[in-house]
């Protein structure tokens, strides 16, 4: 490196910022992009460019003919040269045809061997890259990953004291444990409850800001994706799991994978608690569940306990809690009407959350 230093990173950052702004303002739009993609006129693309997408280019090349123009543009001798070339081409035609025939056979056989024509359309690499980009974007849009989660938490995330109150009923289950995992630990409310009771625990959350807030409170937490963390754990390395409002954020297959990873990572007898919105209550599935765009699908309590049982957890039980604030008045005289109102209350305005609790079997 030279002594005189230039901050190249700063220059590149500014350059990218300028490109971004021009895209935003529509100065660098599709028309300019098309200019930048203009092929070199007058012949094929450069082979060196085709080499960047060899499969797509090969599929195109297989259908091309070799073109040769024997015309010479030299003055005076030009027509003579052209005539001579034509004669030569005429003389060589039969020999060339034999070679071309053989080459054609080889090309077609090779193409069939690698299934180039059947499977891969032209510019395969480019199209694959576009698909990957769109898929990634779809995944992000599906859960509104671009939403400012801090604002979201402030508006819909729930009051800390309410969450603490809800969580408190489960803290007792982990008494005397040494290493309890709080999956999706958020601000660390449950971790704090554990710590207050002398229970050893740590948290994992995908949101780094949440992890930072846990650490500020002196709690142990890591920023990682839940399933990846569970799969990285050594066998029997934790003795309890509390996962509040995680299951509704993952696909069913991922949830099952998490349970399997837990069966490996938990010590015998360790409790497992999953808290999730109560899908048996219609005001939840019809309204409150969808207040979080990151929610994928409601999980009925029967299904969740079934998942745990099938994966081998024992003592599986469901507890509902968090009664709805809005309920129909059950103080009616007619016992028949009262029964109906109760049924309606259960169905429409049942408890908003439930927990499914299970245990890692002994030995």
């Amino acid at each position: 490196m030279s002594d005189a230093q230039v901050d190249l990173d700063a220059i590149l950052t500014e350059v990218r910022e300028r490109v971004r702004r021009k895209r935003e303002r529509g100065i660098y739009g599709a028309d300019v992009e098309a200019l930048l993609r203009t092929d070199l006129p007058g012949g094929r693309r450069l082979l060196s460019d085709d080499m960047k997408d060899p499969v797509g280019a090969l599929a195109e090349a297989l259908d091309e003919d070799a073109v040769y123009d024997p015309t010479s543009h030299k003055r005076v001798v030009g027509p003579l040269i052209t005539a001579a070339r034509r004669v030569l081409i005429g003389l060589l035609r039969w020999w060339m045809a034999a070679i071309l025939d053989r080459q054609e056979r080889i090309n077609r056989l090779l193409a069939a061997t690698y299934d180039v024509e059947g499977r891969l359309a032209p510019r395969f690499g480019e199209r694959l890259a576009r698909l990957e980009r769109e898929w990634r974007q779809w995944r992000e849009h599906e859960v509104a990953a671009n939403l400012h989660s801090v604002y979201f938490q402030a508006r819909f995330g729930g009051d800390e004291s309410v969450i603490r109150e809800q969580s408190e009923q489960f803290a007792g289950l982990f008494a005397g444990r040494k290493r309890v995992l709080d999956l999706g630990c958020g601000r660390g409310i449950f971790l704090q409850l554990l710590a207050d009771r002398g229970v050893g625990g740590y948290g994992v959350d995908m949101d780094e800001r949440m992890v930072a807030r846990c650490r500020e409170r002196g709690l142990e937490a890591f920023a990682q994706e839940g399933l990846a963390h569970l799969e990285s754990l050594p066998p029997r390395s934790i003795d309890g799991v509390y996962a509040r409002h995680i299951a509704e954020h993952v696909l069913p297959g991922d949830l099952v994978a998490m349970l399997r990873a837990l069966r490996r990572a938990l010590q015998p007898g360790a409790p497992v608690v999953f808290v999730t919105p109560n899908a048996a209550s219609l005001s939840v599935t019809g309204h409150t569940f969808w207040l979080d765009p990151g929610h994928l699908r409601p999980i009925p309590p029967e299904l969740f306990s079934f998942y745990l049982e099938v994966e081998g957890f024992t003592g599986v039980a469901v507890r509902t809690f968090q009664p709805s604030e809005e309920r129909l008045d059950e103080n009616v005289g007619d016992p028949k009407v009262r029964e109906n109102v109760r049924l309606l209350n259960r169905t429409l305005f049942g408890d908003r959350d439930y927990a499914v609790v299970g245990y890692q079997p002994d030995a």
Binding site: V15, R18, V32, L35, L36, T38, L40, L46
Partner: protein, 353 residues
């Protein structure tokens, strides 16, 4: 008197490779050796003392050193590698054939021949020198046992001349002058520079021009297609193909340029990058082949080919006087590492003279 002779198939005026050969010859003579430059073909206008390679077969003795400069395949190398002398190969790299396929079958065939010949020569070469680390690694990969890296010897005093007044007048008053120097060749990707200019004129400065200095004699087809591309993009009047230029003209182009920009995908060393630095043009270059090590932090090195980013980088170093000054300073500093006396001493050490 022991001799240190050099050979390259073609010696031509205004060619960085040939200049290197002549600069080395002066040094060898200074150190008390007999030294001549031999070629198969000496182009018109080249140094009058250039000798025909045939003389080598008569004059070389076992105690002599024969320096073979390799940048293309040529059957004469096979013959020269049998001569009883210490044989040193200086590798200037060979452009990979895939750049020429479909454009210039002759050049593609030569490139293939060159790559095969480089491997074939390995056992008969005593010492192989790359003019960049990139080239030295290529030598190792080609099977050379003893390798070293010594940069090209550039005589910077040659550039201390008055720039051509006509060129200066021609470029005066134009705000954005993008410059690239190098023969017109598909590996140097002048087509990408033309596309980049289209962005520049649409999104930055509608008056911007691109000056492409370099001979197009060896690549007539690529040159014709470049012109057609400029037409298709509506920038034909803004792309100036100068063809080969005199040294005062070259100096004038560098001195007037808003920036020197390279999107070349294959360079064994890249003398124009250093020329631009020496003459005070900020450099924007795609990080490819030996480019990164030649500029070594004294240029805006583009990690990926994105034409919009390349154009914005050119605009930035043209407009932001602070960064421009920092880059120009860094460039001057970088060129000092290629001080000819220092390179000469290194050559002497490596060749054991």
């Amino acid at each position: 008197m022991t001799a240190v002779h050099q050979f390259h198939p073609v010696l031509a005026p205004g060619d960085a490779m040939s200049d290197h050969v002549f600069a080395l010859r002066a040094r060898f003579r200074e150190w008390g050796y007999a030294s001549e430059a031999y070629a198969v073909e000496a182009k018109p206008g080249v140094d009058g003392e250039t000798r025909s390679y045939r003389e080598l077969f008569r004059s070389v003795r076992p105690e002599d050193t024969l320096v073979l400069h390799f940048s293309m395949g040529h059957e004469v190398f096979d013959e020269l590698a049998k001569l009883p002398a210490r044989r040193v190969l200086v590798f200037h790299n060979v452009t990979p054939p895939e750049f020429f396929v479909g454009l210039n079958p002759h050049a593609a065939a030569h490139a293939r021949l060159g790559i095969r010949q480089l491997q074939r020569l390995a056992p008969s070469i005593d010492l192989a020198v790359g003019v960049s680390e990139f080239n030295r690694r290529a030598l190792e990969a080609a099977g050379y046992a003893r390798t070293a890296c010594v940069p090209i010897l550039v005589d910077w005093s040659r550039y201390a001349i008055d720039p051509d007044a006509e060129v200066r007048a021609l470029l005066a008053g134009i705000h954005s002058k993008l410059l690239f120097v190098g023969r017109i060749s598909p590996n140097k990707r002048q087509d990408e520079l033309i596309r980049m200019l289209a962005y520049y004129r649409r999104c930055i400065d509608p008056e911007a021009i691109l000056v492409l200095v370099g001979s197009h004699r060896d690549q007539p087809q690529y040159y014709a297609r470049l012109r057609a591309l400029a037409d298709a993009l509506g920038v034909a009047s803004a792309v100036r193909f100068t063809g080969p230029v005199s040294l005062p003209q070259l100096v004038a182009y560098y001195r007037a340029a808003s920036c020197f920009v390279s999107l070349s995908e294959h360079e064994g060393f890249g003398v124009p990058l250093l020329e631009a630095m020496f003459l005070g043009a900020p450099v924007v270059a795609l990080d490819a082949a030996a480019v990164g090590e030649t500029v070594d932090g004294a240029a805006v090195l583009l990690p990926r080919k994105d034409l919009a980013e390349a154009a914005e980088a050119c605009a930035l170093v043209n407009e932001d006087l602070g960064w421009r000054a920092a880059l120009v300073d860094a460039g001057h500093e970088r060129v000092r590492a290629f001080d000819p006396d220092r390179t000469a001493r290194r050559t002497k050490d490596v060749l054991g003279l």
